[in-house]
Point group: C2
Chain length 267, copies 2
């Protein structure tokens, strides 16, 4: 069975479909990690060839400026990742994650005692994505996404220096504090004493940061022990481990997390 | 009755409390607009003096690095805005908005036929905040938030030029397309033929952009008619109109949207 068509049984029987750029983990990776940890049935269009309507072609068809949404209530989409499920066509990473997590058992659901827990988790997830993903992208593209990195190298170095000195410790320190808080409960997890999707999001951010700012992250391991323990705990989960070793996992390259030797700084 | 203590009757009888920096509309403004449009009971701590536990003091107490959250499940907070409601302490603007909107009748709720409409709205809101708020802040602070604008003026001009030329038309064009889509329904609104919180968010983004990039926005009025019609339609709503004229409304100054003559460019 090809990895793109890999289907398992989802709780409600309707498989998910992820549409994202091929060739990078990117923002789509957060979505993949939830689906993989939960063993959900899904199709990853990034792994299908263009000729079969997958790959970049699937993305371009959805975000084309002539695309006007559909007749069942979905507005047009600006950018991937996109999740299709039943009649829904959703965009925006934290939005897709928030839709998926309660359905996949990775966040309290509306039937749960902790009915508002999802909002606490969403707050953690948005903070991780802001500080450990979006800001990281701006480190190599501080002036414009429309320009090459080579056209903003000097500014990228200045921004990266500020990031490594001020922003990275601020955000890692925050999550270390969350891990020590009463709300995190027992164990290595961020919230409620059990694995949630916020842990998977933080895992991928740390994974990307280790690729991009290898030296700075190494220097921070001792100070933010809880964050790195969570990282290892997610990595060791059987389904995640199997996924990371599989050909469904895209390698870091020219996405959000990029390794440039000249930006791999410690101060 | 002082504006800070202004109380009206909320549907569930428990008033909301907003904690945010005083002196700027900032990200807190999106939250205020929902509460004002709905006529909800709320306290705005930014309008209370420091001596009474309001103002910057209220923010600093919550985000202090020694603050470890609480005993009823709330993790520590990294940054304002913060919403307090019952036992909940929530951060992150789009998260707070998503919690509030169904409760305030500004988004479909779980009892609604359109049970997943909130995710479609959240996608629109996150896109507006990404492109018309967060990216705007980076226009005057492209290198580091820890540096003064004066220390990154040249880079700010380059980034603003790219923003006005490429990013602003991209995002305004996207929302123009959403307004023309079937999913928007009839009338000036973004989704489902009725006012939702996504309209209030887009209104404030346009309001801020008109303050910061006055000339560029004026030049774009003809091309993105729907967006500017929505802006006027929100502005004319009786409760919003009353709010904007009141002393509860903070003036633009040194927040996300700033007016620098040298950045008020058209290309």
């Amino acid at each position: 069975m090809s990895s793109a068509k890999r289907q398992k049984t989802a709780k409600d029987g309707v498989p998910y479909e992820l549409v994202y750029w091929p060739g990078i983990p990117g923002r789509g990776e957060h979505i993949r990690l939830l689906l993989e940890e939960a063993g959900a049935a899904y199709t990853d269009k990034a792994l299908q060839p263009d000729e079969e309507g997958g790959g970049a072609k699937a993305v371009l068809a959805l975000i084309d400026p002539s695309h006007m949404g559909d007749d069942v209530g979905n507005p047009p989409i600006l950018a991937p990742p996109v999740l299709r499920h039943r009649d829904l066509v959703l965009s925006q990473t934290p939005n897709i994650l928030m839709y998926l997590a309660p359905r996949l058992g990775l966040a309290p659901s509306a039937d749960d005692d902790d009915v508002d827990g999802i909002y606490r988790l969403n707050s953690l997830v948005l903070t991780a994505l802001d500080g450990l993903s979006n800001e990281v992208h701006d480190c190599h593209h501080p002036i414009a996404v429309s320009l090459y990195y080579e056209d903003q190298k000097e500014e990228a170095l200045r921004r990266s220096q500020d990031y490594v000195k001020n922003r990275l410790p601020k955000f890692l320190g925050y999550f270390e504090r969350v891990l020590k808080s009463k709300a995190s409960g027992e164990g290595p997890w961020l919230y409620g004493g059990r694995l949630t999707y916020a842990d998977l999001v933080l895992f991928h951010c740390v994974d990307g940061l280790k690729f991009m700012f290898t030296k700075a992250m190494e220097a921070m391991e001792k100070e933010y022990k809880g964050v790195f323990e969570l990282y290892e705990a997610v990595k060791a989960r059987p389904k995640i481990k199997e996924y990371l070793a599989s050909d469904r996992r895209q390698k870091f390259s020219e996405g959000i997390y990029r390794h440039y030797d000249e930006l791999d700084i410690t101060e």
